[in-house]
Amino acid sequence: MEDRNATNHRVHGMSDVVFECVLAYIHDSRDRQSVSLVCRRLYELESQTRKHVTMALCYTATPKQLRRRFPFLESVKLKGKPRAAMYNLIPEDWGGFATPWVEEISKSLSCLKAVHLRRMIVRDEDLELLGRERGHVLQVLKLDKCSGFSTDGLAHISRSCRNLKVLFLEESQVIEKDGEWLHELAMNNTQLETLNFYMTDLSLVSSKDLELIAKSCKSLASVKIGDCEILDLVGFFRFAGSLEEFCGGCFNNHAEHYASLAYPKGLCRLGLNFMSTNEMPIVYPFASRLKKLDLLYALLDTEDHCTLLQRCPNLEVLETRNVIGDRGMEVLACSCKKLKRLRIERGADEQEMEDEEGVVSQRGLTAIAQGCLDLEYIAVYVSDITNAALESMGTNLKKLCDFRMVLLDREEVITDLPLDNGIRSLLSGCNQLRRFALYLRPGGLTDVGLTYIGQHSENIRWMLLGYLGESDSGLLGFSRGCPSLQKLEVRGCCFSEKALAMAVLQLRSLRYLWVQGYRGSNTGFDLLAMARPFWNIEIIPPRKAVSGEGIEIEHPAHILAYYSLAGPRTDFPPSVIPLNYIAQ
């Protein structure tokens, strides 16, 4: 059957060529993983034809291991710091250094065209090296919520990567020295399709350079910038004929000045920062074309939301703060039947800063559940909730893949707690759920409810549990289920080290765990019950930090544990301690 002749490989009676052709059509990483497990030859073929890899944590393998297995990689995405870093919970120097990866990429991954680094520490020297060695082939560079570099590093990229189609810097902390990097981009690039420095505080950029980019780059489709005055962008909008997405800018002048502004015909994804009631009418002429609206950084109240959303029947994505209120949610449910993604963030805590109608509760959620049946993603901060609202979502939202709900802590009394039955209905009804986050308060979900989550989460791969359950038995009940759970985050729960360790051993798909807030054992050894080969355990001990307002904040300890082929980290900062070494 199998011909073992090295020059004419046959696998199961078929030649390699057949499999190579077929593999070119298989893109999903899980399918490819299955293929690679069939036999050695298919493993080799799959490795050689793999185009993209995402490493959910950059410490799970070394750069050399990645290159050895996938030598012809064209695109790579690496994630560094735990997700909690987006909420200021992780020490800045925690890790996720890009340097070893950039070095490997520059040395040997010669087919690489796209690099996406998320929550990593990147230095100017890394960008310089990348530009110098891969500048001629690099098409996509995304420094997503990264830190550690300056505009000098960006200038290197702009100078060396003339074929760059995507430059994405959203939410990165960049040390700003000047606007040269954008000027270099304007002078050297004609291929740019996406330019994003949204939420970076880069302000020394010139609107003239933006205008030049719009003129030179005929395919420019998505531009998200910082706080640049909108009136300075008249030229930019005039020349950006292909523009579909624009976010950023700000309004520093009186509303009348903006009335005659002309926007590109294809603009359908929009986010105008600091836009208030008076400027809102500029959106009306093309509101019916809008597919995506970002109002997170706008200055609209509840009534404004109602007025605007009524005019957007084609809206598919809405991001805003809870100032939208239940009334705004009802308008959304009536007017925006095509809505697929809804994100409602938490507004200011001080009553005077936000509209008093600006709270979302079971009323708004029920309306959305009944009105927006195509919803695939919902993330919402609620001030009140009932089981019935969750049941309604379970009954109606059959396409839901991603559910995230946080119960705000301002109200003392919540209408209907615990949410055990509602959550069970939601999970059993929305059987396509892949991601799930629930953040309540003590009393919000009992141990029974937590066990329900375990029993009804067939396909869920990522979960965040915040203040759920009453005791260890809830966690143990939960961990008997969740067959697909790969990544678990736990915050503010009352579980003991022992229970956490046992849960880890029971969750059969688990490969990543993050915990903040737990009942520590007196010896600190209970956690070791989950120690095993390839499982790294790290502790970020309790620490005090000074917030932006000068207030001292106490950060409780974190546990981070994950599978790795690379052994324990070798680049720990003082603020992180590997538990492995305690066992020596």
Binding site: N88, P100, G492, S496, G520, F525, P533, I539, P542, I582
Partner: protein
């Protein structure tokens, strides 16, 4: 960041150049490595793992995900004279961290001492168990809801704009 301390088990025997002709199958490889763990230190770790019971080792080495509950192996343990080689013992206590160089025997004695103290004063310790355990477990109310960085920045900027636009006027 040296490669020498990185652990790599070559499951698929990809490194032909460094292997001998009669290379051991991968299953044996893992067991070899694990057998190099210092038995002195295995004991307390295994004892605590088995005390919890419920899921003890009857699983075979079919994949890394189903391995037994053994402690992490120490790569440096090969061949050296265990009894007298000092290694680091790190102790977390009451918010402080101390590191000592001790021999395996000393380490075992210290751990035994800690365990005996713990079992004696178990009932006395219980009401305090939420306070300051070794690594720092905390009760729920000490952990306030944290805000996303990007939104925090926006809300700060908005406050600044309102103050500079009308420092004496009320906001609504």
């Amino acid at each position: 960041m040296s490669e020498s301390s990185a652990v790599e088990i070559d499951f698929f025997r990809l490194e032909e150049e460094s292997s001998s002709p009669n290379r051991l199958p991968s299953r044996r490889n893992i067991q070899d490595v694990i057998s190099k763990i210092n038995p002195e230190l295995l004991k307390p770790a295994i004892a605590s793992a088995f005390a919890n019971n419920g899921f003890v080792a009857n699983k075979s080495f079919t994949s890394p995900l189903q391995l037994q509950t053994l402690p992490v192996y120490n790569q440096d343990c090969g061949g050296a004279n265990m009894a007298t080689t000092a290694a680091s013992l790190t102790i977390f206590y009451n918010g402080t961290v101390s590191v000592f160089e001790v021999t395996p025997n000393q380490a075992e004695n210290i751990m035994k001492l800690a365990e005996s103290v713990k079992s004696e004063s178990e009932t006395a310790v219980k009401p305090e168990s939420n306070q300051s355990p070794a690594i720092g477990g905390v009760i729920s109310k000490d952990l306030p809801l944290s805000r996303k960085k990007s939104l925090k920045r926006f809300l700060e900027k908005r406050k600044e704009r309102q103050v500079s636009a009308s420092p004496y006027a009320s906001l609504h």
